[in-house]
Amino acid sequence: MDFLIQMLVSGLSVGAVYALVGLGLNLTFWTTRVLNFGQGSVLMAGAMLTAVMVGTGVNVFLAVGTSLAFTAFILWVVEWGGVRPLRRFSGSMGWVVSTLGIGILLQGVASWLFGTQAVAFPDVLFSSADTVEFMGAYISLQYIAVFVISVLIVGLMELFLRRSIWGYGVRAVAHDRDLAALMGIPVSRVVVLSFLASGVLAGIAGILVSQVSGTVDPNFGLHLLILAFVAAVVGGMGSAAGSLVGGLALGVMEKLVGGYISPAAAEVVAFVLLIGVLTIRPQGLFGKRETVKV
């Protein structure tokens, strides 16, 4: 029972982070129909930067703030250099390769600067030793904090999108670019803002996921990208609430399978889930079927 609760809690916790990353992916997808294949590496870069800065004695808030600014900046570069010039060409090949390239580049730079081994992540939220008791199990406060923060951010973003003016702008651009422009919406500015926001979300997610795992590994970026993508697909590309549901489901399944069967099997879970969803219901739980226009 103790084991089960631990698995559930850690599953919900990482699942919420997957949802957060999935939300970042969705944001850029809404406004440009582009999926940033380097998102995972951006996450890793932000976490690396935070770890290193805190390690050298920089104040935690300053470190976090700087990394978030950094991740937002990288996404700005992605939009300007990797997405905008390549959207002209029909088909996805161009931007998949260029956004992936940025991800690989970040991974290379991180390995070059900080080595290929995992770097320990400092205790930014609480301490890894802080626990709370629940039904006989000792649950790490960090897990709970990460879960709460992630869900809160997803909720806030959902609210922001539904209520704020900028949210209206994003949804309008996502729906119909031409019409949005005619409504006076500065489309390119909205696109850039959505990328910046996606960068900030990636930065936060990177810090959160590194907190619960305790380390930052230069290679975990791509891994996380795939998991976040599966979360987004299961929930339905284009739905924030969907990626939350998808993320939590994925996280819990992953931990349960990993705990009760084997870590290798856990790897396969996400993949099987993805294939399953794409075969049975490609639009995910909350998504809409796309129709072909002739």
Binding site: H175, A181, L182, G184, P186
Partner: protein, 247 residues
């Protein structure tokens, strides 16, 4: 006043608009008539900026707006209701109106504008919380017109607003357009495939064929010709062409 000088619009290899010039004056509706594919929509898209013009000039009250992006033109009081009843289908009626209001540097209160819309079209008030995609064709067109005129823009482009609507709804819509224009200082450019419809409300009109303006004149001039001339523009001359192509 809206002035278009020698405008050219191309989509890749296709020349949709081949050097069209027109003037749309305020306090009267200007009609754009022509068969499908004549270039009416492409012309309007170039005027509002959604499609970039290959060559030519667009002047709004003397100001050259040819190089401005579409959202800037919208903020300067140019509104365009696209063909095909384009609205934000997934947003509610009220959300559509909010989106139409907030980004064009509004003056005055949103509530007042909203009340005015609901006054004009009570059915929209009733369905204010419904998703725009679930509205009937006529209701959607009312919404589109409301969104376009919410700011009292000085120039409104309407692309085939009557398309697919029942005559009674068309009458309602045209009444609204006439009222809007009558309020003074407003330019309305109305494109319709159904010539006589446009001529019912317009004071002046241009006939487009294959991307060029082939005919222009006041309502009287156009209506007199409506029987034979326009008919031939749409339905062909009726004489077999000599196919003198050597084998």
């Amino acid at each position: 006043m809206l002035e278009v000088r020698n405008l050219q619009v191309s989509y890749g290899a296709i020349d949709a608009v081949r050097g069209v010039s027109l003037t749309a004056r305020p306090d009267g509706i200007t009609a754009l008539i022509g068969a499908n594919g004549a270039g009416k929509s492409s012309l309007m898209r170039a005027i509002s900026g959604v499609t970039p013009a290959k060559a030519g000039q667009i002047l709004l009250d003397g100001e050259d707006i040819t190089r401005l992006p579409p959202h800037e033109r919208a903020r300067r009081g140019l509104a365009h209701a696209l063909e095909g009843r384009r609205i934000f289908h997934q947003h509610t009626v009220e959300e559509n109106l909010v989106t139409a209001w907030h980004f064009r540097k509004p003056r005055g209160k949103f509530q007042a504008a909203l009340d005015s819309v609901y006054g004009n079209f009570p059915i929209l008030a009733q369905r204010r919380a419904a998703k725009a995609g679930t509205l009937s064709g006529g209701q959607q067109q009312m919404l589109i017109l409301s969104m376009a005129t919410l700011h009292q823009p000085r120039c409104v482009l309407l692309d085939e607003p009557s398309l697919g609507l029942a005559p009674i709804v068309v009458a309602q819509i045209f009444d609204f357009i006439k009222q809007y224009c009558a309020q003074g200082g407003r330019v309305v450019l109305l494109s319709e495939q159904m010539a006589s419809l446009a001529l019912r409300v317009a004071d002046f009109g241009y006939v487009l064929k294959h991307g060029q303006a082939v005919f222009e004149g006041s309502r009287e001039v156009l209506t007199r010709g409506a029987g034979a001339e326009l008919s031939s523009v749409y339905l062909g001359a009726g004489k077999p062409r000599s196919s003198g192509l050597p084998r």
